[in-house]
C-alpha cells in the first residue's frame, strides 16, 4: 500500500509539472518586445575582474588566510549573481533566437542558429559554474571557475548584436554594459 501511495504521489507530481510547463510555455509565447525587456545588461569589466585568476592570486598573497576566505566568499557570491544573470539572459536569447529561425533571410537564420547554439552553451556552462561556486563556498581556496561563462557571454553578446543588426540595422541589442 505504501508503495502504491508513493507511486501515485510521484505520478501526480509528474503530471502537475508537465501540465505546469505546458501552460507556462503557452503563456511565454509573448511578443518579442516583452522578451527583450527581460535581458539584464551585465558589467563585463566588473565580471572579468571578479573571475580574474591573477586578482585571486594577489588577494591570496596579500591577505591573512581567514581574511582571504571571507573576501573570497564575498567574491564568490558576487560571481554567482553575475552567472545567474548570464544564465537568465542566455535563456531569453534562446527564445529570441528561436523566434528568428523562421525568418526568410538565410543569413538571419544562420545568425539565429548560432545565437541559439551559443546561448544554450552559455546556459549549460553557467549551470556548471554555479555548481562549482557552491562547492567553492565550502573550499574558498579554489579558483573561481567562471572563465567559460565570461568568454561565452562575450561571444553571445557579439552573436546577439549580429542577429539584431541583420534583423534591424538601425539599432543593436545590448546585453553587456561596459
Amino acid at each position: 500500500m505504501t508503495l502504491a501511495l508513493g507511486l501515485v504521489i510521484a505520478a501526480a507530481f509528474a503530471l502537475v509539472v508537465i501540465l505546469g510547463i505546458t501552460v507556462s510555455t503557452r503563456i511565454q509565447l509573448s511578443p518579442g518586445s516583452a522578451l527583450a525587456r527581460r535581458i539584464e545588461p551585465i558589467d563585463i569589466e566588473a565580471f572579468r575582474n571578479l573571475v580574474d585568476p591573477t586578482e585571486n592570486e594577489y588577494l591570496r598573497r596579500r591577505l591573512p588566510a581567514a581574511e582571504f576566505r571571507r573576501v573570497q566568499r564575498e567574491r564568490l557570491r558576487a560571481a554567482a549573481a553575475y552567472i545567474r544573470v548570464s544564465g537568465r539572459n542566455a535563456a531569453v536569447l534562446v527564445a529570441i533566437g528561436q523566434a528568428a529561425l523562421s525568418a526568410s533571410d538565410g543569413a538571419t537564420v544562420e545568425a539565429a542558429r548560432q545565437l541559439v547554439d551559443n546561448a544554450l552553451l552559455l546556459r549549460r556552462n553557467a549551470s556548471v559554474a554555479l555548481l562549482r561556486i557552491y562547492v567553492a563556498f565550502a573550499w574558498p581556496h579554489s579558483a573561481l571557475a567562471a572563465a567559460p561563462v565570461l568568454h561565452g557571454y562575450e561571444q553571445l553578446s557579439g552573436r546577439a548584436m549580429l542577429l539584431g543588426r541583420l534583423q534591424n540595422p538601425a539599432v543593436p541589442v545590448r546585453i553587456a554594459a561596459h
Binding site: 502504491a4 509528474a14 508537465i18 511578443p31 552553451l121 549549460r124 557579439g158 542577429l163 541589442v173
Partner: protein, 256 residues
C-alpha cells in the same frame, strides 16, 4: 453505465484506437510521416494491437490464458513503440543544437538507466495482485513501463524548460499526450498492482485509464489536424541603442 462491457466500456476501448488509426492516416496524408515515422508506426500498430486485444476479449473461442498472452504481446509491442516515439521526439528537439546535443544524450541515457533500475526494484518489491503469473505479470509490466515512460517524459519537459527550448508543435503534442497518459496510467496501475483494490474499484480504474487514453488520442488528433498558426515573427526588439558598444562588439567579431 460504469460497468465492464457496458456500451461506454466498449466505446472507450474501441473508439480511441479508431481515432488513433485516423491520426496515423492523417499523418501519412499530410506528408508528416517523414518527420515522425516512429509515431506513425505507433499510431497504426498499437491501435491494431489494442483492437486485437478487444477482439480476443469478446470472441468466445479465445480462452482466458490466450487472451492474456495476446495482451502480453500487445503490451510489449506498445511499450517498444512508445520508447521509440520518445526517442524520436528527443532527437527532434535536442540533437539539432551541437552545444547541448552530447550533454542531453548523456543526461537522457543516465535518466533512463536510473529509471529502469528504480522500476525494476519497485517491481521486485511488489507482491503481485493475482496468483496467476500471467495476469499479475502483465500488471507489473504495465507499472514498470509507465514508471520509465513518465520519468523520461518528465525529464524531457524539465530539460527543455530549463534551456527554454521551444518545441515544434507536433513533437509537443505527441509528448504532452504521452505524458498525461503515462502519469494517469502509472497511478492506476500502481494501485492495481500493489494495493489489491476491489473488483468495482478495478473497473473504475479501467474506465479512468481508457478515458484518459481517449483524451490523449484527441490531443494527438488536434495537434495533427489543426495547423500551426503562421505568425510573422517580429524582429528582435531592442532594449537599448548604444552605437559605441555595437561598434566595439562588431570589431571584436571581425577580429575573431
Amino acid at each position: 453505465m460504469l460497468q465492464a462491457h457496458s456500451i461506454l466500456w466498449d466505446y472507450l476501448w474501441v473508439a480511441p484506437n479508431l481515432f488513433l488509426l485516423a491520426v496515423g492516416f492523417l499523418i501519412w496524408k499530410r506528408g508528416l510521416s517523414r518527420q515522425v515515422p516512429g509515431f506513425l508506426a505507433f499510431a497504426i500498430l498499437s491501435a491494431l494491437a489494442e483492437l486485437s486485444v478487444f477482439g480476443a476479449d469478446i470472441a468466445p473461442f479465445v480462452s482466458a490464458p490466450n487472451f492474456w498472452r495476446i495482451d502480453w504481446a500487445s503490451l510489449l509491442l506498445e511499450s517498444l513503440l512508445k520508447f521509440l516515439v520518445i526517442g524520436e521526439v528527443f532527437s527532434r528537439v535536442f540533437t539539432q543544437y551541437p552545444s547541448i546535443s552530447r550533454v542531453s544524450r548523456v543526461a537522457v541515457s543516465g535518466s533512463g538507466a536510473v529509471l529502469v533500475l528504480v522500476a525494476g526494484l519497485i517491481a521486485g518489491f511488489a507482491h503481485g495482485d493475482n496468483p496467476t503469473l500471467l495476469i499479475s505479470g502483465v500488471h507489473l509490466l504495465e507499472q514498470t513501463v509507465f514508471i520509465i515512460e513518465s520519468g523520461l517524459i518528465l525529464f524531457l519537459f524539465l530539460f527543455a524548460a530549463y534551456f527554454r527550448l521551444s518545441w515544434d508543435r507536433l513533437s509537443f503534442g505527441i509528448l504532452l499526450g504521452f505524458g498525461i497518459s503515462a502519469c494517469v496510467h502509472l497511478a492506476t496501475w500502481a494501485i492495481i498492482a500493489n494495493a489489491s483494490p476491489s473488483e468495482q474499484a478495478r473497473t473504475l480504474f479501467a474506465f479512468l485509464n481508457m478515458g484518459t487514453y481517449h483524451l490523449c488520442v484527441l490531443i494527438w488528433l488536434y495537434y495533427v489536424v489543426v495547423p500551426e498558426k503562421v505568425v510573422r515573427k517580429s524582429v528582435v526588439p531592442l532594449p537599448e541603442n548604444n552605437l559605441a558598444v555595437w561598434n566595439r562588439e562588431l570589431e571584436r567579431l571581425l577580429q575573431q
